[in-house]
Symmetry: C2
Subunit: 334 residues, 2 copies
């Protein structure tokens, strides 16, 4: 069988400040013959994320070598029964048109009629699952409760707001990085109130937006947002602190601790952190709950889809500039 020629992007230099296109190079590679237990995947969609900027620094990705990222693809050739030809799979060999995977490094994904495949990288993927787990398992969100979501215009935030509405939320309040993003939350995504978190003091903005108090805070940020939320939560309120991939920057540069943390005692609050990777077993719950709402249009998967492998570097640079609304995804092939 003739081997396809694959295209890939390598890192060829490390940035000192902002990433630029010159630090990447497009290369061609011959796809190797499969060993037993391997499958060849044609990549269809890949995710580009802010955490990748950190990987460009010393100690991250190697230069002149394959890069990584969350990717969806279709099996086009297989020497393993676990990954049959035609199957849709999730794997981490991004920044290339083709990937050789093993069942240990790839898993099958269901195809839902009427739901775009790209949703597996947004509301049906890690971001949507983070929102679902934070609401249902960590905060144990109940119908009628009011909720505040920080970074609400991001992938996790837009999913959390929409899921909270479907779960019967009372008031839904979000913070976002611009007035335009805040307006979009209210006008298109069902939030009751939203504000630009640059409009300090944050605690005052939150008090105005949630004057009757809050039951749950979905924290994508920490720091001053957490402090404001502790101040606004009612007794017995819960905080789900999300460690999504999108917060990778924060892990190296943690936000300041809230000065009112001791109110966790006086108000009997519960603050619980979580990593979505420990809750992958919740995926079937998320699918069962969300897919009908995606089909009906009740949930909007917030995605910016950039078309074509040639534009993968541009898409990544766009994420770093905040050019995306919701999840930034690159469409590589049909």
């Amino acid at each position: 069988m003739s081997r396809p020629t694959a295209r890939a992007v390598h890192l060829v230099a490390r940035p000192t400040g902002a990433a630029t296109a010159e630090q990447f190079a497009f290369v061609e590679e011959r796809v190797p013959a499969l060993e037993s237990g391997e499958a060849l995947v044609e990549n269809l969609y890949q995710s580009v994320d802010p955490y990748m900027r950190e990987e460009m620094d010393e100690g991250g990705w190697d230069l002149h070598a394959p890069l990584e990222g969350r990717t969806l693809g279709r099996v086009v050739e297989s020497r393993t029964d676990a990954l049959p030809v035609g199957a849709l799979v999730f794997h981490r060999q991004a920044w290339r048109t083709h990937a050789v995977v093993t069942p240990e490094r790839a898993h099958l994904l269901p195809v839902f009629d009427g739901v775009p495949l790209s949703n597996h990288l947004s509301v049906l993927g890690g971001t949507g699952l983070s929102a679902w787990v934070g609401l249902t398992r960590i905060a144990r969100f109940q119908p009628g409760e009011s909720i505040f979501i920080s970074a609400a215009a991001g992938g996790v935030g837009t999913a959390a707001g929409q899921l909270a509405r479907l779960l019967g939320a009372g008031r839904i309040v979000g913070s976002a990085g611009s007035a335009a993003k805040a307006a979009r939350l209210v006008d298109h995504l069902g939030f009751d109130a939203a504000f630009d978190y640059h409009d300090a003091p944050l605690a005052d903005r939150l008090r105005e937006a949630a004057s009757d108090g809050l039951d749950v805070y979905f924290d994508n940020v920490g720091g001053d947002h957490l402090e404001a939320a502790i101040g606004a939560l009612r007794d017995h309120g819960r905080i789900a602190w999300c460690g999504a991939v999108a917060q990778y920057d924060d892990l190296r540069n943690p936000p300041a601790a809230p000065r009112n943390l001791y109110d966790v005692v006086g108000k009997s609050l519960r603050l619980e952190g979580f990593l979505v990777r420990n809750h992958l077993d919740a995926r079937p719950e998320l699918y069962d709950f969300l897919v009908p709402h995606l089909r009906s249009g009740a949930v909007v998967a917030e995605e910016t889809v950039v078309d074509g492998f040639d534009r993968v570097v541009d898409a990544f640079l766009g994420v770093m500039r905040g050019a995306n609304t919701g999840k930034m995804i690159v469409h590589l092939a049909d």
Copy 2:
């Protein structure tokens, strides 16, 4: 019926620094005739606690007026069926030999053969209940788990350590305010390790004492203890942050927030505050679990009992000096 003459202690001056005996006065009062719905209680035991020092400041207790505190007494005369003559009751009219109470302001206590009545002010009272609730409801402590308890030589701490042992704890580590108190935890109260928290750095002492990591932190302190515990907890560890009356001082002067709070996300920790007054329904559970162990001697109720109403001021001043081991209680009558 001839009325008994009651004795009481009033506050007659406010301290500027430490409290002294001159700020209190013993007075005699005629016990009034009971109205319908009231009962006369002879006080048997009362608690003296550090929070009372705050009540001596402007805005706290009135001068030349009755004071308050947790008290056990026996009903000696009654005009309400809810508080029959002979019943043991808990109420808050301390610093006096007799009190007129109503069913709204007093509740009946069970008498357990072979268990000292004073235990209702220590392990069977708010301090023991704080330990029980923190372990079972908040931390959801499991057999085999390791635990760190701060302020472990105090009333809540000694109860928490002993209850944890009975609940099947693995390693139990405590911090205390002196080397002697730390030694007592290990020698007499079943702790596996304990240290004087003045031996900084605290995080190092804790790491040495719990080198295999921790599952649960029972927090009576906050601040640097909480920071050290977050550092030592394993993934999915739980922190029960106790708002016992004994920490009243801290509520006005909260401890610094831990600098590593963000590890709550990375380690998937749960930090939950509680106030024992929201968990009074747990009392029957505590009684059922603890009373057999009190009878058998497996649990030591840590109490310093000072004998005689004449010594109630001395007992309070002793608490402020740290003269007590465990709960400081004044025995007023048999």
